[in-house]
Subunit: 515 residues, 2 copies
């Protein structure tokens, strides 16, 4: 068995089931091994940011990493932005990046690049595997790294001669059963702060935003009056009717400052604190009020769920009655132009139970959080690293992970254009994704940001650079060009009908909502 | 004047006229300065690999760098692959990459990334400009770096507070008049080798593949019998009727070995030697025959044209009658299925004088070099770094540089899908580009490479990963979705008619040739 086959079998043995790929010549032995063994489900993306973003979406829903297969330094580079997003989401991914045979590097062929250098800024672990005998052990270590709580980006570089040389037997990764345990002293300090009577909040990040973490948090809130907060963007929040509602920190700095102003204590689960997305000349980078005491219940690599359970113990909160979101179904909008609010009403009213919502709606979705709070229970996935172009790929990967759940992609048009190639993968795999394109035909956020830097009336150049008009994008043609059925709507009633058609379609469907 | 404006004015003062952009929030002050000064032509790309590839195409034809404007680490990452290609083409580009305000980095906001780390693998020069007073001088240095012969990638990182703080007066870059002079000893050694009577070749790279370098080379060939060779892929070759024909080293290793086998001496202009694109278990990485002596006339940073002129002097070759390609017009193909050969015949017959041909035809274009040797004089631009997805952007940038020349993009379908967003830019700027999509609906090259690694009959997984069918891409819909007129042809006569329509259209036009 050659090195490539020993690696494929190692991945399978270590629990990897899916490989998102965009292969090239240097990966041919790996491809041949995938072909021979039929060990992994291979999903092709026509650009690498689709591949890496899909791996992110898959892991967020499957709860375990996928592999990616990328073609040398430039193939990795094409997928780097969504690896950045995945890294900020604490998603586990095993990247297999082919490279030239080790002896071929020195001739400086066209595709020669510093693969490790490209990988490092987005990877928690990088290794070039120098020998075919060692690749199985390296592959197992890559899976162990990726699976380490809360999830890490592991990039394993596979020189062509490591792939084609004689390999060892496959190796099963040794994956820890549980994350690092929380620190009892921190639990005690948090309990003290939350019992002080002063205004307090839990700041939740990572897997505590799902059950059972959410229920522990809600009981603590019920017992102590603490608010439940989360970052603006999160890898996955399970929410909707019957679940504890979590306030997300607003994107707009002034709003964030205002919402957080009353706090005297904040208890963080995960390493983050609430911060501004960008810096502005007269605005703070940190949005907590002065004098608010930060407590650190658990760091990213510790078991946040167990920490919340221990906090429940310490506060004697297990019997508290948590406040859960009530089911509330907005009225379907009547005749009139479609806009973000009417879209939100329709989505909230019709969202199927168990749906996975991917939110890359940017400015169009600023109110979605409260508008959908009483919808049927669902999972909400957002862009965590701020690099737009994650929506289509996340939806693609989530749908691979959850073939029995409807995926709804709320997609702004500007962001969608970065990785529209994912629609082809949705068509090929017949993935059950309904995409709503918010077609405001602009980088709307930048029009707002221009005002924020003091330009009241953008000139010609800025208008040109922020406008996606002249020509307008036609998302129906773009979708159909990649084999996905689509329709365009401008009216709110037409949108509801289109959304119903999308939900009834057992495959990908795109609705371009123009407003 | 703030730092951003001092940088914009510095770029203009230093000879930069065009800025290819995909801006974000952290670049708002730079955008406002572009808007206020109207100093640079701004061209928007809807994904950053379009932006960087267009800057490459622009510089290859304009003979000077453009600027790019990219949004933080992830925006740079999205454009990295075409910067890799540009770097291998020795193209000069000035990247301006916005970053968070320096004091904002420590809060680890979602878009925080190691921007320098991402830039380094594809940049010859990287600097984060720490102060608004220093940004003008840094900008001038970036232009000087990018303009240094033969062309370099300079990446200047602009923190938001460097942009909005008080700047200095703009600074004009000090650009050298000429590249480093060649070494007379090397010229003498080369002359001796070429006069030895043994089989010899000149191996040409860079700007010697245009006039007047080409004529010097052809005179040397006429005088000594030396062959004229060039790498498989080149930034730009000026060729066609009336010009010296240059043999490109074949991509297929066995063919390259066979073509080079007779050589006893090779005289290189530029640092490269002929090498295999990829390594294979039983094939050499270096394709020159054993015993062939390498001579190094000029390195990449030396004046290759002057070196050839000096070699003409040394060989007394100025009076030699160079062999120039004769005008030969193939017959237009008759009825029958369209295929790469009938496309080549039509393109060769109808190519307008002065056309710029961008070649990302990959397997479909293996014979294009000789098929178009006698076409009307034109410039030929190829993919130099092997990272597919360069064709649409190169054509876009070349058309910005040469508004009075027709640009023909010979584009394979698999490669085209990486950066199809460039079509929107072509529509917005009404660029005179006719694109021929070679729609073989496969990563055809990989089907061949799979055979090369010993797999005679690819299995289901490999067929799935190499096929772009199920569903077929519809390039007419994709093009129209971005505002570009398009048609599909399957017949050779229909292709000729479509190509004539494309040539007659004073704007972008796409022909999907299905075979």
């Amino acid at each position: 068995m050659n090195g490539a086959e020993s690696l494929v079998r190692t991945l399978k043995l270590s629990g990897i089931d899916v490989c998102f790929t965009n292969p090239g010549t240097s990966e041919m032995h790996f491809m041949a091994a995938l072909d021979r063994t039929d060990a992994l489900r291979c999903v092709l993306g026509l650009q690498e940011n689709v591949v890496t973003g899909a791996a992110d979406g898959y892991a967020r829903m499957a709860g375990k990493p996928a592999a990616t297969l990328l073609h040398l330094g430039p193939g990795l580079a094409n997928g780097l932005a969504n690896l950045h997003n995945a890294n900020k989401a604490c998603t586990g991914i095993v990247n297999i990046v082919g490279d030239h045979a080790t002896y071929h590097i020195e001739v400086d062929a066209p595709l020669t690049a510093d693969v490790e250098g490209i990988a490092r800024p987005v990877s928690d672990w990088v290794k070039t595997s120098p020998t075919s005998e060692g690749i199985a052990a390296d592959g197992a270590e890559a899976v162990r790294q990726a699976t380490t709580h809360p999830g890490r980006i592991a990039t394993l570089i596979l020189p062509a001669n490591t792939a084609w040389g004689e390999g060892s037997e496959p190796v099963a990764a040794s994956i820890p059963n549980a994350p690092a345990p929380p620190d009892a002293d921190k639990v005690e300090a948090a309990a003290k702060a939350l019992s002080s009577g002063a205004a307090a909040a839990l700041y939740l990040k990572g897997n505590v935003l799902r059950e059972p973490g959410l229920t522990f948090a809600a009981k603590i809130a019920a017992k102590t009056g603490a608010r439940l907060l989360a970052p603006t963007s999160n890898a996955r929040i399970d929410r909707g009717a019957g679940r504890a509602a979590v306030e997300r920190v607003p994107y707009v700095v002034a709003q964030a400052v205002e919402r957080l102003a009353p706090l005297k204590h904040i208890v963080g689960i995960g390493d983050a604190e609430p911060v501004a997305f960008f810096a502005y000349p007269d605005k703070p980078s940190r949005v907590l009020p002065e004098g608010c005491q930060r407590h650190h219940l658990a760091s990213d690599d510790e078991d946040g769920v167990r920490a919340l359970e221990m906090l429940c113990d310490a506060l004697d909160a297990h019997g508290a009655a948590p406040e859960l979101a009530e089911r509330s179904v907005p009225e379907l909008p009547g005749a009139g132009a479609v806009d973000p609010d009417t879209i939100a009403a329709t989505v909230a009213a019709l969202l199927p139970e168990g749906a996975v919502v991917v939110d890359e709606s940017i400015t169009s979705g600023r109110n979605l959080n409260w508008q959908t709070a009483g919808a049927a229970p669902h999972s909400w996935l957002s862009l965590c690293g701020g690099s737009i172009g994650d929506g289509f790929p996340l939806a693609t990967g989530a749908a691979i992970a959850c073939p029995d759940q409807k995926v709804i992609d709320l997609q702004s048009d500007g962001s969608g254009m970065y990785t529209l190639q994912a629609l082809w993968t949705q068509a090929r795999e017949n993935l059950d994704v309904t995409t709503v394109v918010f077609a405001n035909r602009a980088y709307k956020i930048l029009q707002g940001e221009m005002t924020a830097v003091g330009v009241e009336e953008p000139g010609r150049v800025a208008r040109d650079m922020f406008g996606l008009d002249r020509p307008n994008l036609d998302w129906v043609s773009l979708s159909k060009g990649m084999g996905v059925d689509a329709e365009k709507v401008e009216d709110a009633v037409a949108f509801t009908e289109a959304f119903q058609r999308g939900l009834a379609t057992p495959g990908p469907y795109v609705i371009e909502a123009v407003f």
